[in-house]
Symmetry: C2
Subunit: 183 residues, 2 copies
């Protein structure tokens, strides 16, 4: 087992919030490295933890979605994903998001992967769950700001999308590639 | 081959820059969905494209680094990574970053993966390269804000880190898992 790396944290000389809006809570910090070098502006984005889920039906199909993504101006295939709300465990959030976005539920769940969206400037983690044997149990109930299409895919279709980098969101590509690498 | 999903873009009703600093260039937009729903605040982070590299020596060892990451307050193992500077191709940026951060260069390079850090709110892409047969050709020349330790790792060590989610940064875990899944 590889040992943890040597840890040389920075000193925070000054810290102030620039904004505290949902999806835009930002701190600016002045920091000092162990070498003595001072970096006057380091921007930190605070987000709640995020979740996503590799959901498979009893027949082995993958419950995928597609959604317009405004920052890149494209519509892409993705996993079901969302945010942890106050008081929820990551698994509760992932079950809620799957139900809201697709109407699927049930099945056997386990934690599959933990990643950081970007440890340089994001405070949060993203938790991926593996849900096997899910089935339709309700109608889709997406939020008003969501316009989500559901796609039940065969394994070779998900693999095809991965190999062409069509599942572009790295928070979704990482756990899917881990899934294909370890089974 | 899976067909592209149906594309239903949003209309931008208003757009303004809140900041244009390095690592903090942000637009706020008011947008309208095809359903007619208006979302008054959508935050978009503009970044240059990013690069990283899976670099292996002639002996097959992986050139990994560790680095303190301020937003999570932890030091983690990572790939060599950085930003595209003006006028550089992604491969030129990745070669420059590998040389600066580790002193390694040469070898045979190819583009390995393209991801989006987050298509919801990041405009940029991250390009991963696979560099095989690199060797030490210069001294490490990190920037003043970088405090980087170099680790030459055996394949089983990288795999061990991946399996324990110790390579936490999803932009690095995704191309490494793709590498282990497809060889």
């Amino acid at each position: 087992m590889v040992k943890p790396p040597v840890h040389r944290p920075w000193r925070v000389l000054r810290s102030e919030y620039l904004s505290r809006r949902p999806w835009f809570t930002v701190r600016r910090e002045e920091v000092q490295l162990p070498s003595g070098v001072v970096v006057p502006e380091w921007y930190i984005f605070e987000f709640p933890d995020w979740v996503n889920v590799i959901a498979r039906t009893k027949e082995g199909r993958y419950v995928m979605i597609s959604q317009y993504r405004h920052a890149i101006g494209q519509t892409r295939y993705e996993l079901v994903a969302g945010c942890c709300e106050a008081g929820e465990s990551p698994e509760e959030s992932a079950r809620r998001e799957l139900l809201e976005e697709t109407g699927y539920g049930g099945g056997v769940w386990r934690e599959w992967m933990v990643t950081s969206p970007n440890p340089t400037n994001h405070t949060n983690r993203c938790y991926t769950f593996l849900a096997e044997g899910v089935e339709p149990i309700a109608a889709q109930q997406a939020e008003p700001s969501e316009d989500i299409e559901i796609h039940l895919m065969e394994e070779h279709e998900v693999r095809d999308l991965l190999e062409r980098d069509e599942i572009l969101q790295c928070l979704h590509a990482a756990p899917l590639w881990k899934y294909f690498a370890t089974r």
